[in-house]
């Protein structure tokens, strides 16, 4: 039988250390909604989403109340729209109409976000994909809950440099049209099909009709556990992280199984990602500092993060029958109190963050850059990140925000879980001639495993 110290430990994780289930995300396939009439298509996707996810928010709240663990977000991911809307969307306006329909469907069921206004063009763009990408700035400006992602490369296909060049311009346009648009837009290499986290969630074509994916967080729990082993060996450190990750993931597994049972939708994966929030005590940077860095960005940061990421995965894999998505540590600058401080004091630069993305689960995330940054430089940043992902056979992503009218030294406020960020300087030298080249970068030699 369970004992009182175990009960106290669990409840302390929730009340003092910000343990939460970050999201229950329902993945919904829209593949069979494809048709050649825009109005009919919009009716079909609205119907499919509002029917499949109608009980999601209620079930989420019930589980939260019964087990006493907060479930912060309820979300939906859908089949990338470019795959299903090509037959009926012939203009940017058409795609914006689809985005508004998705926004309305998300509002009707009461979810926090809906992801999948997406295009997968790792080797080349179809006309539909290019049109969808060109509609992103307006789609994100004219909706509240829709998130967008574009996959521009993979280890198997190489990098689509035409898409990367276009995304630099699209990110600039998105920033022009709305303050929050870029926070809802992520550019991937090796995008996973089952990621429950926004802004990059979509329901991959390899998935079934509907699936429940759960994202668990808990950087505060890991930090609190590490406070108990200051000065201990790496063996003790790693064991502590692993055990803590195990416990956190088991909570996610329970929530996922319950949600799956109550909604009658199969369980997909648990994504154990240490996802920070701007709250003190809910920060990945603080974990790295607890491991022994004066401030995140100091020499040793990449090694500490590599170890953290790996131990989180090892603990998580043991705890759940299916672990997927991104699983590891997120390093979004504006969403992490420790990262914000280090960036503001100049102790953490984009180049160091780029190095960190080689060993953590995602990429350059929620980074505010000067509004005057040329589109080609943004494309260059995307190409760098995508190359890291391609060569290292991992997911990488870019979610940068060129802030209109602001420059290094200013800060920008996103609000809520998205936090605030200092505008970070980027290298001023041009990569225009590199980015202007047409075509794609071939897949690396180690991708030929057949």
């Amino acid at each position: 039988m369970i004992n009182i110290s175990e009960v106290i430990e669990t409840n302390k994780m929730v009340t003092n250390e910000n343990l939460d289930v970050r999201t229950i995300t329902i993945g919904i396939s829209l593949l069979d909604c494809a048709c050649d009439d825009l109005d009919r298509f919009c009716d079909k996707i609205y119907e499919r989403i509002t029917t499949t996810a109608k009980d999601l928010v209620k079930v989420g709240k019930d589980i939260e109340n019964e087990y006493g663990v907060p479930i912060v977000n309820k979300r939906i991911s859908i089949t990338p729209i470019s795959l299903v809307a090509g037959g009926c969307c012939k203009s940017i306006d058409d795609y914006v109409t689809v985005a508004k329909t998705l926004d309305r469907a998300a509002g009707t069921v009461g979810v926090n976000f809906l992801g999948g206004f997406s295009a997968l063009c790792s080797k080349g763009m179809t006309k539909a994909e290019e049109l969808l990408i060109r509609s992103i700035p307006r789609a994100l400006a004219e909706t509240d809950l829709v998130c967008s992602s574009v996959n521009v490369g993979s280890t198997k296909t190489g990098l689509d440099m035409d898409a990367i060049r276009l995304m630099g311009q699209i990110i600039k346009e998105t920033a022009e049209l709305s303050d929050m648009g870029c926070a809802k837009l992520v550019v991937f290499c090796n995008a996973p099909d089952d990621n429950p986290f926004m802004a990059g969630a979509f329901h991959g074509v390899t998935e079934g009709d509907a699936i429940i994916n759960v994202g668990v967080s808990g950087p505060g729990v890991v930090k609190a556990a590490l406070e108990e082993c200051r000065g201990a060996s790496f063996e003790v450190l790693c064991e502590t992280i692993k055990k803590t990750a195990f416990k956190i993931t088991r909570v996610g597994q329970l929530v996922a199984q319950e949600a799956s049972k109550r909604l009658g939708i199969p369980f997909g994966i648990i994504d154990l990602s240490l996802a920070p929030t701007p709250a003190v005590g809910d920060s990945v940077a603080e974990i790295l500092e607890e491991i022994g860095l004066e401030k995140v960005g100091a020499p040793g940061t990449t090694a500490a993060l590599a170890m953290l990421n790996d131990q989180v995965k090892k603990g998580g894999v043991m705890a759940s029958s299916y672990v997927g998505g991104l699983s590891g540590a997120f390093i979004p600058v504006s969403e992490d109190h420790g990262m914000i401080e280090a960036a503001a004091s100049g102790d953490l630069c984009i180049e160091k963050l780029e190095a960190m993305t080689c060993v953590c689960s995602v990429g350059l995330d929620m980074i505010a850059i000067p509004g005057k940054t040329p589109a080609s430089s943004i494309s260059g940043m995307i190409a760098d990140e995508a190359a890291i992902g391609m060569v290292n056979q991992k997911t990488t992503a870019v979610r940068v925000i060129p802030v209109k009218g602001k420059d290094v030294g200013d800060t920008v406020e996103f609000g809520g879980l998205l936090g605030f960020a200092p505008i970070m300087p980027i290298n001023k030298n041009s990569c225009e001639a590199f980015i202007s080249r047409k075509g794609r970068i071939p897949a690396p030699i180690h991708s030929f495993k057949n």
């Binding site: 004992n3 009960v7 106290i8 669990t10 006493g68 329970l254």
Partner: protein, 90 residues
């Protein structure tokens, strides 16, 4: 058997257990185990209860427990047992 864990955290006063037990008896909820300890100066009590034959739905019991806690001046929560067994047992 459907088990739940009730926790009481706060300043120790006369009659906490009595009041909780009286409420549970009224709802046909059987107490399987009680333990208590002091952590950081606060009174912590845990009860493992059987809610299989409870006469109210779980959500109502949870809000009643919360209200009872507010009346006594402590925090009372009820959670289904699986959250603890999943986390602490292989």
């Amino acid at each position: 058997m459907n088990k739940a864990v009730i926790t009481v955290v706060g300043k120790d006063t006369v009659g906490i257990i009595a009041k909780v037990c009286t409420y549970l008896a009224g709802k046909n909820i059987n107490i399987l185990d009680i333990s208590q300890t002091i952590v950081g100066g606060y009174f912590n009590m845990m009860m493992i209860v059987d809610i299989t034959n409870a006469e109210s739905i779980f959500g109502d019991v949870a809000s009643d427990m919360k209200a009872l806690g507010e009346e006594i001046g402590v925090i009372i929560r009820i959670q289904k047992e699986e959250i603890f067994t999943k986390m602490h047992r292989l």
